[in-house]
């Protein structure tokens, strides 16, 4: 009846594909649980796994490879075009998002909001750094106006030379600022007391955000 009987898959192949698909599901679930960063990488992994599973399932479970090319080529290209449909959907949705933001700005006068990240927080590092500086109490000792409270003011700090206890001078660059947050006693600026506690609980991303904020307070810093 079927000249191409031999092309139908064997039980062994079916079991192997089954095991492989189960492993792929487990893998994508683990990638989700670990919340692997950055987000785009996670999404690329999900898309790759989905496409692999789709190919396996069409080739082996639906046994398309046992069909004649006339049928295969009538089915695969139109379905693949659906990908283009999704891309149209995305660009349309992106446009609508822009219109909605502009509408909000025009009607309420509120600035166009930042696109929220997955935690619902802001993605702008300067703004995030400002929030962190407030919530961690930095601003009770470091002014942003140039006024001297307890520690050196942050205004104009970034990129400026700092004379240390002992006579040496360092430039307040990223590395220096990072060290001075995590381990403030390492280099003490002349005529300031060594009273700042080390902030070791801040992670790398938070440190970068605070430094971005400090940079923004200095004309030499990039905005």
């Amino acid at each position: 009846m079927n000249k191409q009987e031999h092309k139908h898959i064997s039980i062994g192949t079916c079991l192997k594909v089954w095991g492989f698909i189960v492993a792929l599901v487990a893998l994508s679930y683990v990638v989700f649980l670990l919340q692997i960063e950055p987000l785009w990488l996670r999404r690329v992994i999900f898309i790759a796994i989905a496409l692999l599973q789709a190919v396996l399932s069409v080739t082996y479970f639906m046994q398309l490879r046992a069909e004649r090319p006339g049928l295969v080529y009538a089915i695969v290209p139109p379905v693949s075009l659906l990908l283009a449909l999704v891309i149209f959907g995305l660009s349309e949705g992106d446009y609508v998002w822009g219109v909605r933001q502009t509408h909000q700005w025009l009607t309420t006068g509120k600035p166009v909001i930042e696109e929220p990240d997955k935690n619902g927080g802001t993605t702008n590092p300067i703004e995030k750094g400002m929030q962190l500086a407030q919530s961690n109490g930095c601003l009770s000792c470091h002014s942003v106006t140039g006024e001297k409270i307890v520690g050196p003011s942050w205004k104009g700090l970034y990129g400026s030379p700092q004379e240390l206890e002992g006579g040496t001078t360092v430039t307040a660059d990223e590395a220096y600022l990072k060290e001075s947050i995590v381990n403030p006693g390492a280099k003490i600026v002349k005529s300031f007391p060594n009273v700042m506690p080390p902030y070791k609980t801040l992670n790398e991303e938070q440190l970068d955000a605070i430094i971005a904020y400090i940079k923004s307070l200095s004309s030499g810093g990039s905005k």
Partner: protein
């Protein structure tokens, strides 16, 4: 029929031969060609839903609900994100393999095993739909509606109910078909005809239901 050399030559040449032979192009049984064409059409239904989901999700101004939290399952006091959906995914994709085994045994005219594996596939499908019913019940109790939900962007509900609802409907119809075919196989209807095409056809349908979930799981739940 075909020459042996032609069998060995490239798929492009065989494609041309399929279309140029001045005979029917899809040299499969008509019901199989019809099933493939039906599935092709059906894939556009789900493709449209997916691209609508892409468009509405990217256009949403409120943050998208965190699916890990929304679909978390309480196990012994701890909340495990997406656990129920991960289990459902494993069950459905495994049922794709059991269906393939049923088709293989059908092609071998192994009546008992074909009936058994078809029946098992129906059972797995029924478990999937039951778990989905649990998922829907939980979500509706927590206040999810097609037009609103307590977690974020209101577009979430419409997309969730449309996508999983349409897919769940396909699974339900599949379970009905599988049960009927399993019953008829075990009664020897196909053995008498010496033809297990019906098992193959429902296998194609079930493979498609599987395939849709392969995309729904990462794009709706994991993204």
């Amino acid at each position: 029929m075909e020459q042996p050399q032609q069998e060995r030559s490239g798929s492009l040449r065989r494609l041309v031969a399929d279309w140029a032979s001045d005979r029917e192009t899809f040299r499969v049984r008509w019901s199989k060609a019809m099933m493939w064409i039906f599935l092709l059409g059906d894939s556009f239904v789900f493709g449209s839903f997916l691209s609508a989901y892409a468009a509405t999700r990217i256009a949403a101004t409120a943050p998208w609900p965190n699916t890990g939290e929304v679909f978390a399952l309480h196990v012994g006091g701890a909340e495990i994100p997406l656990l129920l959906v991960a289990i459902m995914t494993l069950i459905l994709l495994s049922s794709g393999a059991t269906m393939t085994l049923a088709v293989i045994y059908g092609l071998r005219h192994d009546q008992k095993r074909a009936a058994m594996w078809t029946g098992l596939t129906a059972l797995l499908g029924a478990i999937f739909v039951s778990l989905q019913a649990v998922e829907w019940t939980n979500l509706i109790r927590e206040g999810a509606r097609p037009w609103t939900n307590p977690w974020g962007a209101p577009q979430f509900g419409a997309n969730f109910f449309m996508l999983t609802g349409f897919h769940g409907m396909h699974v339900t119809i599949g379970v009905l078909l599988l049960s009927i075919i399993a019953l008829r196989t075990s009664r020897g209807v196909y053995e008498q005809k010496r033809d297990y095409l019906s098992v193959e056809l429902v296998g194609l349908y079930w493979g498609f239901v599987d395939l849709v979930w392969v995309f729904l799981f990462p794009f709706f739940y994991l993204f």
